[in-house]
Symmetry: C2
Subunit: 195 residues, 2 copies
């Protein structure tokens, strides 16, 4: 094993372990010593990979962003663009249920915790929301062009609505811990998309 790959493995290990902590406790409430304890990585090694707690937090967000868009690309499957979107929403909700509604959406959580105080965090999260919206917009545009949606539909507005409804749905179902809530929201999104 080369040194680089060992270093990369350590970095990866720190990122995944810290993400779990951030999802559970938020950024402010997570200390570097909690990360050291959870990862078993020595302090010097941690600081070798991440210069500060802010750097670590940003790297976790970037890593989660990449993972989310890989997940989304795989989840956007189906016979047509509308089915693809519905299946992607279903896949996201399934993750929620699998996690027993604990944790919710890292981006949403961090948006609410950090966006007023930290421009860098805010920027990554904005990227997530706008890239997600952009992807859905493309699919909706395709659906409109092929007559699957009425010509009066505005793909950008509809895409924003789906993303907002998803974020709101994850928030509300985290509080209710009720699977039926997610089924209701899925029904709503399905309806929004004309199915």
């Amino acid at each position: 094993m080369s040194t680089t790959s060992k270093g990369e493995k350590t970095r990866e290990h720190i990122l995944k372990a810290t993400r779990k902590i951030l999802v559970a406790k938020g950024f402010h409430n997570t200390s570097i010593s909690t990360v050291i304890e959870a990862t078993g990585v020595k302090k010097g090694n941690l600081y070798y990979h991440f210069a500060s707690k802010e750097d670590l937090g940003l790297a976790v967000l970037e890593d989660a962003k990449d993972e989310f868009f890989s997940f989304l690309a795989k989840a956007l499957t189906g016979r047509d663009p509308i089915e693809k979107i519905i299946n992607s929403c279903k896949a996201i909700f399934t993750e929620q249920v699998k996690n027993n509604f604990v944790g919710g959406c890292l981006f949403g959580n961090t948006a609410l915790e950090m966006t007023d105080s930290n421009q860098k965090f805010s920027q990554v999260i904005q990227e997530v929301f706008s890239r997600w919206t952009g992807l859905l917009e493309e699919h909706l545009g395709e659906a409109r062009e092929t007559g699957m949606l009425p010509a009066s539909i505005q793909p950008r507005l509809l895409a924003k609505t789906v993303v907002a409804t998803m974020e709101g749905a994850i928030m509300i179902s985290r509080v209710s811990k009720d699977k039926d809530d997610l089924n209701d929201f899925l029904a709503v999104i399905t309806g929004l998309l004309g199915r």
Copy 2:
């Protein structure tokens, strides 16, 4: 001035000041000493009104809940139930802009921070979401009965969607700080309600 009313005034003062801090910093990140500093209230006096930080946090949520439903009752004005709902959403968004998108929704924020760890907080927030949904559901039911909405509409589902879209919209616009985002979401909600 009677002693009771002075005590009530102090309680009220603590609640409003703490709400501002909680909106800005979250529950975990707020210490009793921060509250003492911000309110100028003596420690003994603070503990006379609230036995613990948890008690104070819950009282702030309850107070904000009452205020929100008074606000909502006033904001639900218009010539018909659909117009009432649209106006109430507009009023909530106007508050967001007035606050320069800072703070967002105390219930949403607390939902994401506290719901996995504290059953009591979770319960108050669940009450807010379900009572808000219930109010909209009543209006939508009335709209359906008078033929303003198609008979196929399910008031409960549509009400849940409006609440989820509102929460998601507040979250997303807090990140983008973009007034146009809120106008888009308002257009979407207006469309959802068939106007």
